[in-house]
């Protein structure tokens, strides 16, 4: 990692150059909600001024650029009694600007599942390795609890990471790809003053977190409270719509569907993101459903996040962005559910 600074004016020049040469995705204000608050989403941008660098929280996470809602796994070309399978992994390089630490940590968790281990997913690897990530520090929202989950700071998994220190950015350069881009843009070495400002800014951000979720011992609690009434209480509210998994930065489960084209010349095998809250998630052939009630499915979602994933990768799957809590039409949010499970007073 190299530490440098870049002036804000130079950063704008740099980003405009990047946009000119690449597909660039950044947070944009796309709408206003019923209360007049802006709604942000990651979308392709064509100029620096379109980017909402001070965005609050995008409604959907960054995940969908790596795990698209629908993705073709392979095609089967039919020819009389024969068929041939075709697989393509390729993707064009792209740049994503203005990513928060929690979203980068979300990607790192996905990397554990989809890039490492015995069966890396080539579809994911192709997208991940062809994405240039520029991160940006920010002030937490009132409902952010990423600090409780240690994902308020990204240590790796990005190319560049910026922290606003007044008229310039404190910059972490984490790849030679990123370093090479600065051949024609002026960047400066760190001076004592920059360092002080950086530390002060980090301290200030860390002090702004209002929401805390106690994670210590939660994995065991998931086991011990497996039969708890809390699951029924929240499960009865659950509409089993699967919205939480769609907006979650780390939910990766999916379904595979196959369809034959009307021409009867080929069939398409597609992967569609799914949710463990959907009713047929664990239904097997013959009709038996291992989790028929909404409550067991909701419980399972939390159980995977705070127990199953911890057993596999030594950290919870949740990054603490509360996107699921915001998006849930039934008003279920992880903060209240976990507080409830710990038998603490819900605020």
């Amino acid at each position: 990692m190299l530490y440098k600074t870049i002036s804000k004016a130079n950063f704008k020049v740099f980003i405009n150059e990047v946009i000119a040469g690449n597909v660039t995705i950044a947070p944009k204000m796309t709408d206003k909600d019923s209360e007049g608050n802006p709604v942000y989403q990651f979308q392709q941008v064509y100029a620096f001024d379109e980017i909402a660098l001070n965005y609050t929280k995008t409604y959907s996470s960054l995940k969908n650029f790596f795990l698209p809602f629908k993705e073709s796994l392979s095609t089967f070309q039919f020819d009389k009694n024969e068929w041939k399978q075709k697989i393509e992994y390729s993707i064009h390089p792209r740049v994503i600007v203005g990513v928060r630490a929690c979203d980068i940590n979300g990607l790192l968790k996905l990397d554990n599942v989809l890039m490492k281990g015995k069966y890396p997913s080539p579809y994911y690897v192709a997208r991940r390795t062809n994405t240039f990530l520029i991160g940006l520090d920010h002030e937490p929202m009132a409902d952010c609890f990423c600090q409780s989950l240690n994902s308020d700071e990204a240590l790796h998994g990005f190319d560049l990471f910026l922290t606003d220190i007044g008229d310039k950015y404190f910059m972490q350069i984490n790849s030679s790809k990123a370093f090479n881009l600065f051949k024609n843009v002026q960047i400066n070495d760190i001076e004592t003053e920059d360092e002080e400002k950086y530390i002060a800014e980090k301290k200030r951000i860390a002090s702004l977190f209002k929401t805390r979720v106690a994670i210590t011992g939660l994995s065991n609690l998931m086991d011990i409270e497996f039969e708890s009434d809390v699951w029924k209480k929240w499960g009865d509210k659950c509409l089993s719509c699967g919205t939480c998994a769609m907006v979650c930065p780390t939910c990766y489960c999916f379904t595979v569907t196959e369809s034959i084209d009307v021409s009867l010349k080929f069939a398409l095998k597609e992967k569609v993101l799914y949710s463990c809250n959907l009713v047929d998630f664990a239904e097997v052939a013959g009709g038996h459903n291992f989790r028929p009630e909404p409550a067991t499915r909701l419980k399972y979602r939390f159980y995977h996040q705070h127990r199953g994933f911890v057993e596999s990768y030594d950290e919870p799957k949740c990054v603490g962005c509360n996107r699921c809590g915001i998006a849930c039409p039934a008003g279920i949010n992880p903060i209240d559910v976990i507080h409830d499970l710990r038998m603490e007073d819900v605020k």
Partner: protein
Amino acid sequence: MSYEIPRENIAAEPFMAGPPDFNRKSRLMQTDKVYECMITNIVELTDMEKLFHLKIMDPGESRLFTFRPGQFLMLELPGFGEIPISISGSSAIRERIGLCIRKAGKVTNMLHKARIGTKVGVRGPFGTHFPLERMVGHNILLIAGGLGLAPLRAPIYWVNEHRSEYADVAIMYGTKRPKDILFDYQFDMWGKIYNYDIHLIVEEPDENWKGRVGLITELFNEVDIDPHRTYAIVCGPPVMFKFVCNHLNQVGIPMDRMFVTLERRMHCGMGKCCRCMVGSTFTCVDGPVMDYWTVMNLKEAI
């Protein structure tokens, strides 16, 4: 009385059999590519179940494909879907992959209409297997209910092929009705040639049935079990293996010497789609074969 903790012999594990391959990052980078297979034979077992023999068409791929008893594969029917099927045949025969399949859903209904010569695809093998190396020198109790005999055929073939390495082998098999009995043509052969102790039982007999009537647990009255020298392999619906394993536990077989296989919905076979998750683990990666201690300690497993 002294409590002696049994020694674990790791040299018996199959991963010690070959030289370690530290450079191989994954089995295949092309994890989603299927092996093209031809259906070479179809055996009608009952109204609902058929045994399919598959042959991997490419000789190179056919050489690559090896499995261990208990593992499963993903069977692809292009345009219809992909399903997890445990391999029901001998792991020694490369030319023939046996799959016993019940007509139960969209893909299997279509597959039952297939004829000899149809081309299908397989990926795999995936999952864990029965630790037959560890069972060498011991008695083996093979207990199956209904379609549970299908995955049991792989370890049965293994024992057939290595018969001298194992002591007494008993097969206990229970079904609902006599006409549901799978592979009825094989029991005589297994009994005569390989000297297995075979016990069959049905719940609802018809007029021709002369054997035992009742639940599978009643067969325990007929079989002598030496708990210190016996491994058990149990396959069947969760209700059945819960009763069976509890009985075996009372007899004194340690829970880590009883093995069961789990059934779950699967869409990938590689621990990615999460559909087969039980408790905190995946059936496709840490299962489908698990010892009863593990299963007991997984939430929602039974």
